[in-house]
């Protein structure tokens, strides 16, 4: 086994676009799955972890998302970014699992156990782009008002409806709707270069 040519091949693949990698994956090349994993596993995992607040469950969900993606390949590149596809899939599976749990109290207990940070294992290329994007989005969220950000995050990470949010925050529904919508529009303004 010539490890140099193996490295060359995977070096090439890791420079390909998501679309190219997806085609390679559909053609049955498992190296493509590896590269896509290196690119997006952290994102999928952190979203699953944020919603489920349990590392083991988050890892299980990450595995489910990537294997589902490998087996079914329902992503259509002309219809949106691969990032958004994976994120949407992850979020909807995670919210489903969240809803099937018995109480909010368990969630809060799990979350408080989770506050220590995990170690990370960066590899060169995707650290640059993933980190850059993370920073951009953090900056964009910082521009929002506290209310706008809070409402968006409650809706996104906890799967709460806007009436549930209004009840929890004890504000009128109309106010919650305005905060959420204005928040999303402000994000769009800040991030317009990231979405093309």
């Amino acid at each position: 086994m010539d490890s140099n040519s193996d490295n060359d091949r995977s070096a090439d693949l890791s420079l390909q676009t998501d679309g190219e990698l997806f085609h390679a994956l559909k053609a049955g090349q498992p190296q493509a799955l590896g590269i896509l994993y290196d690119r997006y596993a952290s994102l999928v995992y952190r979203l699953a972890l944020r919603i489920l607040a349990n590392p083991q469950e988050a890892e299980d969900l990450t595995q489910e998302v990537f294997l589902r993606f490998w087996h079914h390949g329902t992503y259509n590149p002309t219809r949106g970014s691969l990032s958004n596809f994976l994120i949407t899939l992850t979020r909807s599976r995670a919210i489903d699992k969240l809803r099937s749990r018995s109480t909010n109290l368990k969630f809060l207990q799990r979350w408080s156990q989770m506050m220590t940070t995990e170690t990370s294992f960066p590899t060169p290329i995707e650290v640059v782009s993933l980190s850059q994007r993370s920073q951009q989005v953090q900056n964009a969220l910082a521009v929002l008002s506290e209310n706008q950000r809070q409402v968006l995050e409650m809706a996104y990470y906890e799967g709460l409806s806007q009436s549930e949010i209004a009840k929890q925050l004890d504000v009128p529904l109309g106010t919650v709707k305005t905060w959420a919508r204005q928040g999303l529009l402000k994000l769009r303004q800040s991030l317009k270069d990231s979405i093309g």
């Binding site: 994956l25 049955g28 090349q29 498992p30 590896g34 994993y37 290196d38 596993a41 952290s42 994102l43 995992y45 952190r46 979203l47 972890l49 944020r50 890892e59 990450t62 595995q63 490998w70 087996h71 079914h72 390949g73 329902t74 219809r79 949106g80 970014s81 990032s83 958004n84 994120i87 949407t88 899939l89 909807s92 489903d96 940070t117 995990e118 990370s120 294992f121 960066p122 993933l130 994007r133 951009q136 989005v137 953090q138 964009a140 969220l141 968006l152 995050e153 809706a155 409806s161 806007q162 709707k177 305005t178 959420a180 919508r181 204005q182 999303l184 529009l185 994000l187 991030l191 979405i195």
Partner: protein, 267 residues
């Protein structure tokens, strides 16, 4: 038709966030028809929403997860398209498929960005508008039923049958979905004519020329149906028909057939 751009933007954001009231939903539907480029904005906002998780703390899963996944994926050349999944995609027809896909949240719809278009792109936009409109209308139907249907569609062994319109309703199409181990079946139909009072649609299954009655239903104002029906005892899903009946129904004769299953069933 002009709305101040700020309120149009807000309405679009509301659609993407899923918080439109029924009046807002109706208005948004109208706006979509008038201005197809709204669909592009919808897709852009959906992408923005999908960027939010990037701001989460940058944690990684354990290294063993990578090897677990790559080992579980079959070796090169053996990657399979699970038959159930591709059958599901080929059997669901037109707008109903898009409707369910939107509900599943698995796909982003977006129209191409270049509006100086060929006919194909215009047609795609029209379809997108039809899909978004149908999505809005469906939100006015019971949300609980949708969620249940979604959960059912995620099960590995479901029974899925397509129906198409017969002479009385040639444009009608739809799907029947059932999980054999659970009670109830779902019927999702579109382009069925609305009925005057005194008439109703009914679902029958046909076994050896014998018709077994399932439930009765009517359409929403724009011709769609999404209902959950109890499964009659001893029912088999072979051929299904939808008939037009007088209400209250005469128990003797069966009314004219409005829709039937395609000649081959699967799953």
């Amino acid at each position: 038709m002009s709305l101040p751009p700020e309120s149009l933007e807000e309405l679009t954001a509301g659609y993407v966030l899923g918080d439109l009231s029924s009046e807002e939903a109706e208005e948004f539907g109208r706006l979509l028809i008038e201005d197809p480029s709204l669909a592009i904005e919808v897709n852009r906002l959906q992408e923005v929403l999908g960027l939010i998780p990037y701001a989460l703390p940058e944690v990684e899963p354990s290294p063993r997860l990578r090897s677990a996944i790559l080992e579980a994926a079959p070796a090169a050349g053996e990657r399979n398209q699970t038959p159930k999944r591709s059958l599901l995609q080929s059997r669901i027809v037109g707008g109903v498929a898009a409707l369910l896909a939107l509900a599943l949240g698995l796909e982003n719809y977006r129209s191409r960005q270049d509006l100086t278009t060929t006919q194909a792109r215009v047609a795609e936009q029209k379809q997108l508008i039809a899909v978004l409109r149908q999505d809005l209308t469906t939100r006015q139907v019971q949300v609980a039923e949708q969620k249940e249907l979604i959960a059912m569609l995620r099960q590995p062994s479901i029974h899925l049958v397509s129906l198409e319109g017969a002479d009385l309703a040639p444009a009608a199409s739809g799907s029947f979905v059932m999980n054999p181990s659970k009670p109830g079946a779902f019927l999702a139909l579109q382009n069925l004519p609305s009925l005057p009072t005194g008439q109703v649609y009914q679902l029958y299954s046909v076994v050896n020329d014998k018709k077994i009655a399932w439930g009765q239903f009517n359409t929403s104002p724009n011709g769609t149906v999404l209902v959950k029906l109890p499964v009659p005892s001893k029912a088999e899903v072979t051929t299904l028909i939808v008939t037009l009946e007088q209400s209250p129904t005469s128990t003797r004769s069966v009314g004219p057939t409005v829709m039937t299953t395609e000649t081959t069933t699967e799953l």
